[in-house]
Amino acid sequence: MSLLSVSHLSLTIQDHSILHGVSLSVDEGEIVGLIGPNGSGKTTLFNVLSGFLKPTSGSVHYRGQDITNVSPSKRAKLGIGRVFQNFGIFREMTLEENVLVALEALPKQDRKNLGNLKDVVHGTLDMVGLLSHAKKKAGSLSGGQMRLLEIARTLKSGKTFFLLDEPTAGVSPKMTEQVADLIRQLKIEGKTVVIIEHDLPFISRICDRVIVMDVGRVVLTGKPQEVKKSKELQELYFGAELV
């Protein structure tokens, strides 16, 4: 049975149809790339999966449970983590507080199992080399640092299913590799990941499977190598050089 299964998901906002019958499934431990041109509905699909937007029709099942009408905070407590395209970091808070606020939002038992929260906070910051910035406001970080912090925070707060929205957007080329390493780390730890990315070489390096969306529909799914060679993708991204 798949970890996440989405069936016939449609979303219309103010007479504007954004998703049309999206169906897909993700297995436990898989790393899936979600690609498609700008405006094809990838972020919107994530927003439905996170519970911020209610679909007009269709359903979302997670670990066999129907979560279509479950609130975002309850989904987070089920282990669904989200990394936002515009950095889901609280810029007015310090780095320390950014991690702490996530740990404190965990269900009581999970929080107890973590032990001393201060230690977990330090461990998290240390993991991405930001311990020396612990007391600084997160708004002072570079894009790459924010991204690393956000992914590490999601990991350390016990999430098992990751929705990463363009994790390399706004990240310097030098740090992109660090972000890729952190995502590989997620795989090693047995997490399940769906990544929205425009960087196709990046996707083919780290993903087991690729799903292609266009104008609110899933148009193609397959192994990175197969998808890269497909005519549909060439047409979607015509002119783009595929490495």
């Binding site: 972020t43 996170s50 889901g88 702490l100 606020v101 996530a102 404190e104």
Partner: protein, 284 residues
């Protein structure tokens, strides 16, 4: 000397209400424009029963229940409505409540107010008021300080900065909002129970719109969400308000001059903080 104790009492007795409002509006960035509506319910909720023969403890208990109910109503609306719609709605509720207490004359005596409010036995002098309210204020400041610094304060900060980011971490907006409003209600109750004894009177003019302007001014000028900042501005602005009586101006102009001055201060404070006061929602 008497004036000094008066000022101390006036400042200290406003602290629970102001800091409660600061928690919701300053720190939580929730457009709660109805704190004086909550005060109205707290004031009449306690003193109408008291004037109709209930003892102080039972009158306060009744007032407490009513204040919690109106606070829950505000919290529910804050969760259901868009921020700006909630702001307008909160003002409307405040004004409606005021209209009710002014016009339900058989119960509230309308604009004549409820006179001869009895004082607690230990609150007979201005000095005893100053001392008692000082202790209450200290305890309340301590309570809110811990709250601001702790996990509740962080959750509120997170929600204030970006609702979706906070939601994706598992922060339950409903709980945090409800608790913030209940604490605000409790602060309103404490302040008004003491204030009405101090002036021996319940009067609707102590609950009208300019009082709300004063609240917003104190919080905005002090730095929204900051306990020390709001305390400082409360002290300074209360001194200004109370000190204006000593100006060589005919007393009938004092009220309008005060309002004019406060309007000006509010204008400047909002202007200075225009970027941080109403943060733009970031897209995800």
């Amino acid at each position: 000397m008497q004036f000094f104790w008066h000022i101390v009492a006036m400042i200290c007795m406003s602290i629970p209400n102001i800091l409660g409002f600061n928690l919701i509006f300053g720190k939580g960035k929730i457009f709660h424009f109805g704190p004086i509506g909550v005060s109205t319910v707290a004031t009449y909720g306690v003193f109408v029963p008291l004037m109709h023969g209930f003892s102080y403890p039972s009158a306060i208990a009744i007032g407490f229940v009513l204040t919690m109910i109106i606070s829950l109503l505000f919290a529910w609306l804050a969760l259901r409505l868009e921020p700006d719609a909630f702001g307008v709605m909160a003002i409307a509720i405040h004004l409606s409540l005021l209209a009710v207490v002014i016009n339900w004359i058989s119960l509230t005596r309308g604009t004549r107010g409820l006179p001869d409010i009895p004082r607690f036995f230990f609150l007979q002098t201005t000095q005893s008021f100053a001392l008692f309210t000082f202790i209450i204020a200290l305890l309340w400041i301590l309570f809110l300080f811990v709250l601001h610094r702790g996990s509740f304060g962080r959750s509120l900060d997170a929600l204030a900065e970006q609702l979706w980011y906070a939601g994706s971490l598992g922060i339950d907006r409903r709980w945090v909002t409800v608790i913030a409003f209940l604490i605000g209600g409790l602060g309103a109750l404490i302040t008004n129970v003491i204030y009405c004894q101090y002036v021996f009177l319940v009067h609707p003019s102590d609950l009208n719109f300019p009082v709300f302007i004063f609240f917003v001014m104190v919080v905005v000028a002090g730095k929204p969400g900051s306990v020390p900042g709001v305390l400082c501005s409360l002290i300074l602005l209360t001194l200004l308000r109370e000190g204006m009586r000593f100006l060589p101006i005919p007393s009938e102009f004092i009220g309008s001059l005060r309002l004019l001055l406060f309007g000006l201060i509010l204008f400047v404070a909002v202007w200075v903080r225009r970027d941080t006061l109403f943060p733009k929602a970031r897209s995800v």
